[in-house]
Amino acid sequence: MAERERIQKPSRSSAESEAAASQPGAGRSGERLKAELDDLLDEIDEVLETNAEEFVNSYIQKGGE
């Protein structure tokens, strides 16, 4: 299995091209994603908890399932 060759198949249904169109590789280039990430970093401090350490320490969830 480790040496297995992948069989090239004809593309799967129209759903594939639809899905592919919305994938980062097609519609959203890596560079565009990176630019978006830079913009996000500029604004993420607005969302970040003001006292991150206290927030992290106080987030305790006991008992579940």
């Binding site: 480790a2 994603l33 996000l40 993420i44 970040l48 992290v56 987030y59 969830q61 579940g64």
Partner: protein
């Protein structure tokens, strides 16, 4: 023909009572749910009377392995708030968390719609609670699976299966998938919580849950958690059906991740049911492998199969994808979602290709990749390492369900379903399973419904005894079969009368 792979998701949410000097998670969860239910009852034109959950058929302590498996003693918590909603879901306090167990869905897309509806219900609950709490206080709900301090809570999946399939065959087939599917459905986590390890020994891992799995197979859900859970509680005709209860997954924020988590599992389980699961895909050490896979962001580190071959998680997933694709080509997609199964295959192939090319490239569909990219970039810009509380805070805040505070919301994750459809699904049941019958009963006759659960609805028609309507077939009671019946019935007595004809 496989048994239709009816499926459902149940999410235990994290909850925090912000601004309060003291807080108790059970009280907070009860307040959250009661605030939502009261809001529904007071909504203009609402037919909603509160309908309680019926515990009649609860037996989560029963073991699918039968004699020798080791049933557990279990007492359901019948005193806490526990309601049935018009969309067919159950909304209740489970231990110390608010939990929404979604309605039965016919395919993975439907599972995404009602999973998002559950999140919307949680958001509406937060708003309703805010109106009841003193100024400066609020309840905040998180859709994650760990507090980062060794406490974990679940997002469980359920799949209808053929009782005739031996449980050992299910374990054989499900385990390799459960160990490796986290490469696209892991929600990502900073650090490790595995017993006996230093938190900082793992900077970031794929899964919220992998740290907590200690057994291959078992009945537990809170201690010594098993990769394959053996709870034998079909909530359906036990002569024909089994409900595979899956506890190994993460709650996803990404709709595509939820779609893939459910959709690929449906296809793999159908493969198992048909006896087409590859013999040679048995893992040598699943518990070690699930943790190793979670901690390997390169997706390149191999682990051993039982026959001594060395594989990566991507190898296993490609193999499963190809088997499932061939199975759908050869035998069709009836019972596994029809057209939705084709969409699942296309998405599955696409995400594996992306992960193979660059594990971080599916940054708008795979939660762990989206989270990692942001946290890694934040750390680089602000000079913090992976133990920094700002990165740990952003990790938790990725899962914050308040739209204005959600970090995930800022990451432009790809949407699969329309918000209007999600809003509709918060109060309406899926049309194509028995959840439709449950939901319609509540929409139309709630004041006469005493209680309901997965496989029955109990009416009080004013007579000496209550009337229980059994629903032992999860694929029956659909809109197609019962909509005109409901349309014709003015009273619950009409409905019961018609059902007895």
């Amino acid at each position: 023909m496989v048994v239709p792979k009816i499926c459902g998701l149940e999410t235990e949410y994290g909850i925090a009572h912000r601004g309060a000097e003291e807080s108790n998670p059970i009280t907070a969860s009860s307040l959250l749910i009661n605030a939502y239910l009261s809001g529904l009852q007071h909504a203009p034109g609402s037919p909603m009377a509160r309908v309680e959950w019926d515990f009649e058929d609860e037996m989560p302590g029963r073991d699918a392995r039968g004699v020798g498996g080791g049933d557990l003693d279990y007492e359901p918590e019948t005193h806490l708030v526990n309601a049935v909603l018009t969309n067919g879901a159950r909304y209740y306090v489970d231990h110390a968390h608010p939990e929404i167990s979604g309605p039965e869905c016919a395919d993975a897309r439907s599972a995404v719609v009602w999973d998002r509806a559950a999140d919307l219900i949680a958001q509406r609950s937060m708003e309703a609670a805010r109106a009841l709490l003193p100024a400066g206080q609020e309840l905040v709900v998180y859709k994650n699976n760990s507090d980062g301090k060794g406490n974990s809570y679940g997002c469980h999946e359920n799949y209808l299966m053929d009782r005739a399939v031996p449980f050992s065959q299910i374990v054989h087939g499900a385990t390799p998938h459960f160990v490796t599917r986290q490469i696209f459905c892991g929600a990502g986590k900073v650090g490790t919580e595995a017993a006996g390890t230093e938190r900082s020994s793992v900077p970031f891992q794929l899964s919220q849950r992998a740290d907590f799995f200690e057994e291959e197979v078992g009945l537990e859900t809170t201690l010594k958690r098993p990769i394959v859970n053996t709870r034998d509680e079909p909530h359906a005709d036990a002569r024909h059906y089994r409900r595979l209860h899956v506890i190994v997954g993460d709650a996803n924020i990404s709709e595509v991740a939820t779609f893939l988590k459910v959709g690929t599992t449906v296809l793999v389980l159908a493969l198992v049911e048909r006896g087409l699961f590859p013999e040679d895909l048995c893992l040598a050490a699943p518990v070690a492998a699930i943790r190793a896979v979670s901690c390997d962001l390169s997706l390149r580190r191999p682990f051993l199969l039982a026959d001594g071959a060395s594989v990566t998680a991507l190898d296993v997933q490609w193999e499963l994808f190809e088997r499932c694709a061939k199975c759908c080509d050869d035998l069709g997609t009836d019972g596994v979602g029809g057209e939705v199964a084709e969409q699942v295959l296309a998405r599955w192939e696409a995400v594996l290709g992306e992960l193979e090319a660059d594990p971080l490239s599916p940054a708008t569909t795979v939660d762990w990749a989206a989270k990692y990219r942001l946290l890694d970039a934040y750390g680089a810009r602000n000079g913090c390492d992976w133990t920094d509380s700002r990165l740990r805070a952003l990790d938790l805040q990725y899962h914050d369900l308040r739209p204005e505070r959600s970090v995930a919301n800022r990451l432009a994750l790809e949407r699969l379903v329309d918000p209007e459809e999600v809003s509709w699904a918060a109060t309406n049941p899926p049309p194509d399973t028995r959840a439709y019958f449950r939901g319609r009963c509540l929409q139309q006759f709630a004041p006469h419904v005493v209680a309901a659960n997965w496989d029955s609805v109990v009416f009080d028609l004013g007579g000496e005894t209550l009337r229980r309507v059994p629903m032992m077939e999860p694929a029956r009671g659909t809109e197609q079969h019962t909509a005109s019946l409901f349309d014709d019935c003015q009273t619950p007595a009409d409905l019961i009368g018609r059902l007895q004809q």
